[in-house]
């Protein structure tokens, strides 16, 4: 009970300090807005200043028809040059292994006979359904979403042309007796029109795609990446700062005074750590609400998922902040440690740049940061449209980090303060 009262007092004092409020709430929103506006719409896909670039994509095209070629032409077009690095391979299994090895983010598989199945050679032939397959890196959050959107757009464009061609052909055949034999081969004529050089869905649809992807994927709004990134980044700062307050209280005499009251040391420390946790929780909650209202970003459709990721991110960050503070000699040293770790974790953990862009070693290192797991969880919900079941891995890791660091910090602080 006393721990809760100490926690509430800490939260109250923090939110009454307008300088602290700027750091807690103002800075994440303002910086996100500035960066988001500077980068423009990530839905623009591949703009030179987009933070998401060079997504490694492998195309396994076993189709020898026009449609397979069309997929490749679109994917390797100038418009997507910055966004995608496209390679071609013949072996699907080998391509999938590249994803597992972290060398590729997505594999597009176009099966043999894909074009033949969809484009009948004669009017009497029945078109049958066929599909391409997209394999993505389960560890990636944004690139699969982008690739899926692009492939869907290409497929939708192709479908439109094919449908238009088929309807026209069938209508023409239906009118053959009236129109005469000159149109008997209309089907072939129309199908011959479905050659890349004869219609421009690549460019036309791609130009259309910018809009359509933007609409279909409103999550690829720059704020949808930067606000969670900045929220996690500034959360780390405030969690270190909150933990530092225990050393500030020690130097200002309020901690020793607390220890002269009939309140156990463990209650005092739990209260202090709880206060940091509460502060962070309130900070993140306000940022979620404010960013939704101000920037119109969507935090996904899974409320339980969002609550879980937010609570466990704050738990892990406050636990880590408390633990690292135990190594500091005094509050100013704790401040220096906190700033250094927050900045490093921000850079490594994907708060500034999507971890999608990280290479193998950097990708591995980033997994040792709270930011990475938090960002993975949040982007799965916000950009990936994932649900509660999709963030369980991230939740488990964040929860584990929180538990271990909280327990160690509690132990270390008790040893420090019981003299």
């Amino acid at each position: 009970m006393k721990a809760l009262q100490i926690a509430w007092k800490d939260t109250l004092t923090r939110y009454r300090d307008w300088k602290a409020l700027i750091g807690l709430l103002g800075a994440p929103l303002i910086i996100s807005a500035l960066i988001g506006l500077a980068f423009g719409n990530i839905g623009g896909l591949g703009g030179s200043d987009s933070p998401i670039t060079d997504i490694e994509v492998i195309v396994v095209n076993l189709d020898d028809g026009v449609l397979g070629e069309n997929y490749i032409e679109v994917l390797t077009s100038d418009d997507l040059d910055d966004l995608l690095n496209v390679r071609q391979m013949d072996d699907l299994e080998a391509a999938r292994m590249e994803i597992e090895a972290g060398d590729a983010r997505a594999v597009l598989y176009i099966p043999a006979g894909f074009s033949d199945r969809l484009i009948p050679s004669g009017v009497d032939d029945e078109a049958v359904s066929a599909s391409v397959e997209l394999y993505t890196d389960p560890a990636a959050n944004i690139s699969p979403f982008i690739m899926q959107s692009i492939v869907e757009q290409i497929t939708a464009g192709a479908n439109t042309i094919l449908l238009a061609g088929r309807v026209s052909a069938e209508q023409a055949v239906g009118q053959a007796e009236i129109l005469g034999p000159a149109l008997a081969n209309l089907g072939e004529t129309i199908n011959s029109e479905l050659q890349p050089e004869n219609f421009d869905f690549q460019t036309e649809k791609l130009s259309l795609e910018r809009t359509e992807v933007g609409e279909a994927v409103e999550g690829i709004n720059p704020f949808a990446f930067f606000i969670p990134g900045m929220a996690v980044f500034f959360l780390m700062f405030s969690m270190f700062d909150g933990s530092r307050s225990i050393l500030l209280e020690e130097s200002r005499g309020t901690l020793p005074r607390l220890m002269t009251t009939p309140t156990s040391t463990s209650q005092i420390i739990l209260g202090k750590m709880g206060g940091t946790f509460l502060t962070g929780l309130l900070q993140f909650t306000v940022l979620v609400i404010a960013s939704t209202i101000i920037f119109g970003i969507s935090w996904g459709s899974s409320i339980p998922g969002l609550i879980t990721v937010v609570v466990l991110t704050v738990f892990a960050a406050s636990g880590l902040g408390a633990l690292l503070t135990t190594f500091a000699k005094d509050a100013s040293q704790a401040g220096a440690i906190g700033s250094a770790v927050s900045l490093t974790f921000g850079a490594l953990g994907g708060s500034f740049f999507p971890s999608e862009n990280f290479s193998g070693a950097l990708n591995t290192i980033s997994r040792f940061t709270v930011n990475r797991w938090a960002m993975d969880g949040l982007t799965t919900l916000t950009l990936g449209g994932g649900g509660f079941s999709d963030i369980l891995d991230e939740a488990a890791v964040l929860g584990l980090i929180g538990l271990v660091t909280f327990a160690l910090a509690l132990f270390a602080f008790q040893r420090r303060f019981v003299k």
Binding site: L12, T13, G253, T254, P256, L258, T260, T261, P262, K419
Partner: protein, 316 residues
């Protein structure tokens, strides 16, 4: 004799190789104001920290209100109120919010909490500023709220660690009056200070502490009797070009001068009979090139006691 409300037995506290407190023993009776008087670094705060269960003694034991500081810390903490040397308050909270928070730490709830808060605000004379943030208070007002926190749960003994450090004379006067008023109402007070005048004015008994040891305990009269055979003289000097150490050595050669020392531009002298040696003292100072600005012969006081016992001035 009635059981003392506080008894310290051979308290020691060491930090690595440093012995901050070296075997302190004393007791305090119900309703007494007991002062620990000593210079900075003498061990006063360490002693009070052990008695308030903030520090565990390296050796020795103490009981407060019948509870052991080493074994019954929670009971001891409930019996004592602590006023630390620092302003141990939360500046962004109001006086009332601070008091409410600290009250909760002492287990005060509901109506009783409200009642106590109003009471101590009244004692501190800050009822009209109760809802102002502490950061807007003057140093003296902060000190008064600092004291009010220690009184919230109606402790049996109040520990006050140098509560008047760094405040203006008016605020100091108010605090001393408050302490005496609380004592009149039955509160036992353990008061630490390095101001001789405060100890003299407030205390029923005084313990003189130096280098972690209690070197004398008693009433002011009892203590001054230890230097009763000596008169004290305080001579103000212009010291330009004066070799102070040489002058002190010369003064101590005068027959009838027990001890001489230089302190803050003044020479303190203990002599068997001031009038008998005064002319020779003046001559010696004159010969040394000193120029006397003022001279005062004092009744024996705690300063003289400290000088007598340690060979140093209390302010050293």
């Amino acid at each position: 004799m009635v059981n003392p409300i506080l008894a310290a037995h051979d308290l020691h506290k060491s930090y690595d190789d440093v012995e901050a407190v070296r075997g302190i023993s004393f007791d305090i009776q119900h309703g007494e104001i007991f002062s620990l008087l000593g210079p900075n670094g003498a061990g006063k705060t360490t002693t009070i920290s052990m008695l308030s269960c903030l520090l565990a003694p390296s050796k020795g034991e103490a009981e407060v209100d019948g509870h052991s500081v080493t074994n019954d810390a929670d009971d001891v903490k409930q019996s004592i109120g602590v006023v630390p040397q620092e302003i141990a308050l939360y500046p962004t909270l109001s006086a009332r919010e601070n008091l409410a928070f600290w009250g909760k730490m002492y287990g005060l709830r509901g109506e009783r909490s409200k009642e106590r808060i109003e009471n101590v605000l009244d004692v501190a004379g800050l009822s009209d500023r109760a809802d102002a943030k502490v950061e807007t208070f003057s140093g003296g007002m902060k000190r008064r709220i600092n004291i009010a926190v220690g009184l919230l749960h109606e402790p049996t003994v109040l520990f006050m660690d140098e509560p008047t450090v760094g405040i203006d004379p008016q605020s100091r006067r108010r605090i001393l009056d408050t302490v005496m008023e609380l004592n009149k109402q039955g509160l036992t007070v353990l008061y630490t200070t390095h101001y001789m005048e405060e100890a003299e004015e407030l205390s029923d008994r005084i313990g003189i502490i130096d280098h972690g040891k209690l070197i004398a305990v008693g009433t002011q009269n009892e203590l001054t009797k230890t230097v009763g055979q000596f008169d004290s003289m305080r001579i103000g000097l212009d010291q330009d070009g004066l070799d102070g150490e040489k002058l002190v050595a010369a003064l101590e050669t005068i027959k009838g001068v027990h001890r001489a020392m230089l302190e803050n531009g003044e020479i303190l002298i203990q002599a068997e009979e001031a009038n008998a040696v005064l002319s020779r003292i003046v001559t010696t100072i004159d010969n040394a090139g000193g120029h006397i600005r003022g001279l005062k012969i004092e009744e024996p006081n705690l300063e003289a006691v400290f000088l007598h016992l340690t060979g140093r001035a209390l302010r050293d």
